[in-house]
Structure formats: structure tokens, C-alpha cells
Amino acid sequence: STIVLVFEAPKGRRPSFDEGFTGEEERPGGWRWNIEKGQKLKVGQSIGHV
């Protein structure tokens, strides 16, 4: 069995280099994943946050 979640969340602004951010992974204020592919999860564990 499988569960598919589809949801809308803030994208976050793209940081500029002037602000000291160097990579795509820095997206302050937007949605960020806390998981990796193949990771085992338990109910209640965070998969990401705004």
C-alpha cells in the first residue's frame, strides 16, 4: 500500500549571492524537505517544513 501526498506550500524566495547564500539548497521562508529517498519513516516524523 502507498500514500501519495500532493500539497501547496510557499516556494520561498530565491536568495541572492549578495545575501551570502551560495547554493540552490538555501531557500529561506519556503518549503524545505527533511527526508531522503529510501528513508524509513515513522508516523509523526517530520517530512518537511515551511
Partner: protein, 444 residues
């Protein structure tokens, strides 16, 4: 060159008769085969139409054609099996009562094979479970699954494994790397007669699809295209009606009447949101208050696929605090959803029986889709007593929906839809809090 052209002798020779006859024969054979194929296809269509007419005359709904997926030989063999019947049989078998003294060794063996942690099971005495179906749908001890304290996080809906996650753009979900399908196929497209609910799918799916060059990977997350494009589809076009206002078409700038305000305050107490309000982070907004456009900013669609292995705890919970507005039941097939088949069978989630729960959360659209499988065909939703999955009567319900759509002059969307009223007319849906048990998967 001039002398070569002028002096070269041109000699004409007849094509050998045998070669000509052979060519004409092959051509004729090809024509006959093509004509025969066309005739058979036309005959099949005529037969189908006759059957449909006959069925309609006798008051029976039209039969739907079974979809035969393409794929490797394992998939082809699987597509010939009566999977739903097998699933029901499997369910019945697992409901047989196990002799009292065999229960503990049997469940311990099952736990050993599938990695069940018996220390977490709510009922320590395994004799209590009369059969495997009951043990499979076990509950856990309170407190063994703490909910993440961050109110702005989405928590895992179930015990399982992350198969895929990422960003959706242009209405395409990637099942596994390289296999995509549209959101319309997964969630169902928008229907004008529905209760004002607009999924993001209709707008997004109509956009041109992305080429493979546009896809790139950001760590483990799949991003299908750069962000700038998404601003064009972001916003009101797919935003669900807000919690405390009417449908989008009626929303306008209407101010709350005193009656509305009193109902809102009553609702707040009904939902007991005070605790949520106290820890709702820097915005100091309760979960049910939709984010303002300034606070929300540009948004994107994200997806996550969680696979539940046979030994996992098979009840599922709400990942966020949200309101479920409607449910769409797609009575499809029941292929296995093992990671292997997810890789080999394109669009597996759009073929299988599934229950799509559509609603909204603080940041906009939210959908939750439990997808059934051969061994766990029954999906239970606690707040939906009318839902029957993997049932002999399922086809009848779907056929009734098809008949209703035909009567209303609308195309049949392939699912049976129900809307939730909720405790209050204003809420317009069933409210769920983070970590609340929503239902589960049962054997067969």
C-alpha cells in the same frame, strides 16, 4: 563529363518476372492483412455498441473496458489475473480464526519475517488477535509515535519508506525516475458540478509538458523545471476557497456579518484550537486561518510518496491540520505497489484503486491519496462510513456515477465523488488535526 554522359551506353533490362510477382504478392498480402485487421476492429466496436444498447434497454449501465497496461512480461501476466477477486479471497482467508495455541507462534513468526516490533503493539497479549487480519490492523501503544513539535512541518502519514518526493510543475508527478503521469490522472479532473472545489490539476495539466532536458535533481528532491515558470500558474487559479469565505466565484470583498463572526468564535471552541494557536509559531495564526497573500507569497505544488511494507503499522494519520472537503473513489485495479512494480509499470498509481481526499490547509491545496494493493485492497477512512473499497458493490457505485453523469449531460470522470459537510456549515468539510488517525489499509 560531357563525353562520359554522351558516350555511355544505356542498356535497359526487364525486371525478372519472379521478383515482380513476389513484390506484388507481398503487397497484396499486406493489403489483405490490413483489411482483415480493420474489419475485426470494426466488428468489435459494433459488438460493443450492440451490447451497450442491449444493456441500456434492460436498464443496466454500460460496461467499462478493462485497461491492459503495457510493460514487461511480469506485468502482462499480472494484468491477466483477476486481482480484485484474488484480493478479496486473500482477505477472507486472513479472516479465518486461528486456533488459540497457534496464534502467538504464528504472529511471532510473521513479526520475525516482516520486522514487526512487538514492543510497540498496544495489545501485548497476542492471543487477543483472532486472525492475521486483526493483527495486521493493530493499534500502537500511546506515545510510541511522537508528533513532530514544529507546527509548520508536515509529518509522515504512516510508517513506511520514502519512494519519491519533489516539486510538481505543469501537472506532472514523477512516480519513479523517468515515469511521469499527470495530476489529472491521479486526482481526477475538475468537474463543474462539484462543490466549488478546484484542484490545481486542470490548469496545470493544460500547460505544455516539459522536456526531459528541463528536469534536474536537487539532492534527492526531483525538480522538474526552474522556479520562475511557476509564478504564471501560482495564485487564485487553483487556490481552494478559503476556510471562512464562500466559493471563489462568490468570495469578492464581502465583510463578515455579526452572525458569521459569532459562528466563527463558536467554531473555534468546537475545534479546540487554542492549543494549536499557542504554538503556531511566529505568525501567531491558528492552523485554520488561511495564510494571507503577503504571508503566503509565491507557492508551488509538492508531492511525496510513502510506501508501506507488509510488516508496517497499517493505519494512516493526518500529516497536517487541514479540512477535507471531498473524497473521490477511483475503483481501479489492485496491482501490487511494491517498489519493483512502481519502477516497471508506468502510471501504476493511476491504475490502482484509490481514495483521493481533497481539501485545504493553511497554505492552500492539500490532497491525501491512499492507494490500494493486491494484499491490502480495503481502504478504510474513519470519517466516511459510506466508502466501500474492493467491494463487489464498488462497480455498481461507479456505474451509478457514470449513469448520473450521463443524465446530467456531463462526461464521466471515472470516480465516485462525495463531499463532507463537517460539524459546521462554515467549515465546509471534515477537520483533521496533525497526527490524528484517519483510517487504514486492511488485508484483502
Amino acid at each position: 563529363l560531357r563525353s562520359a554522359l554522351g558516350q555511355t551506353k544505356v542498356e535497359w533490362k526487364p525486371i525478372p518476372v519472379g521478383l515482380g510477382i513476389g513484390f506484388l504478392g507481398l503487397l497484396q498480402l499486406y493489403r489483405v492483412q490490413a483489411r482483415e485487421k480493420r474489419r475485426i476492429e470494426e466488428e468489435e466496436v459494433r459488438t460493443q455498441e450492440r451490447e451497450d444498447d442491449e444493456s441500456e434497454k434492460h436498464g443496466c449501465p454500460k460496461k467499462r473496458k478493462r485497461i491492459r497496461p503495457s510493460g514487461p512480461w511480469q506485468v502482462q501476466i499480472m494484468s491477466t489475473l483477476p486481482l480484485k477477486a484474488l484480493s478479496r479471497l486473500w482477505g477472507r482467508f486472513n479472516e479465518l480464526t486461528i486456533p488459540y495455541y497457534l496464534r502467538v507462534p504464528g504472529f511471532r513468526l510473521y513479526s520475525f519475517i516482516f520486522g514487526v516490533n512487538l514492543d510497540e503493539v498496544a495489545e501485548p497479549d497476542l492471543h487477543v488477535y483472532p486472525n492475521l487480519a486483526a493483527f495486521f490492523y493493530r493499534t500502537l501503544k500511546p506515545g510510541v509515535r511522537p508528533i513532530d513539535p514544529n507546527p509548520n512541518s508536515i509529518v509522515s502519514p504512516a510508517d513506511g519508506k520514502v519512494i519519491q518526493f519533489g516539486t510538481i510543475e505543469h501537472g506532472e508527478v514523477e512516480q519513479v525516475k523517468g515515469v511521469t503521469y499527470s495530476l489529472d490522472a491521479l486526482l481526477g479532473s475538475r468537474r463543474p458540478s462539484s462543490s466549488g472545489i478546484s484542484t490545481p490539476t486542470s490548469e496545470l495539466a493544460s500547460r505544455p509538458s516539459v522536456s526531459s532536458q528541463d528536469r534536474h535533481s536537487l539532492g534527492d528532491e526531483e525538480v522538474i523545471r526552474e522556479d520562475e515558470e511557476f509564478a504564471q500558474v501560482n495564485g487564485i487559479s487553483y487556490t481552494l476557497p478559503n476556510l471562512f469565505s464562500g466559493p471563489a466565484k462568490n468570495r469578492g470583498d464581502k465583510k463578515d456579518t455579526p452572525k458569521d463572526q459569532s459562528t466563527k468564535s463558536q467554531l473555534s471552541s468546537e475545534l479546540d484550537v487554542t492549543a494549536e494557536l499557542a504554538r503556531s509559531g511566529p505568525t501567531s495564526q491558528p492552523w485554520w486561518a488561511p495564510a494571507t497573500s503577503k504571508e503566503k507569497g509565491p507557492t508551488a505544488l509538492y508531492y511525496c510518496v510513502v510506501y508501506l511494507a507488509p510488516g508496517d503499522y497499517h493505519r494512516f494519520h493526518s500529516p497536517v491540520s487541514w479540512v477535507v472537503e471531498s473524497r473521490r473513489h477511483f475503483a481501479g485495479e489492485l496491482y501490487s505497489v511494491s517498489p519493483y512494480l512502481q519502477r516497471t509499470l508506468p502510471g501504476l498509481f493511476t491504475l490502482n484503486e484509490r481514495v483521493v481526499l481533497l481539501g485545504r490547509w493553511r497554505w492552500g491545496f492539500f490532497s491525501y491519496t491512499p492507494v490500494g494493493a493486491t494484499n491490502v485492497g480495503s481502504i478504510v477512512v474513519n470519517f466516511d462510513r459510506e466508502l466501500r473499497t474492493n467491494s463487489l458493490t464498488t462497480d455498481t457505485a461507479a456505474d451509478r456515477a457514470a449513469e448520473q453523469a450521463a443524465n446530467d449531460g456531463e462526461p464521466y470522470s471515472g470516480f465516485a465523488e462525495a463531499t463532507y459537510e463537517g460539524a459546521s456549515a462554515i467549515l465546509r468539510g471534515h477537520a483533521l488535526t496533525r497526527g490524528e488517525e484517519m483510517g487504514g489499509f486492511q488485508l484483502g
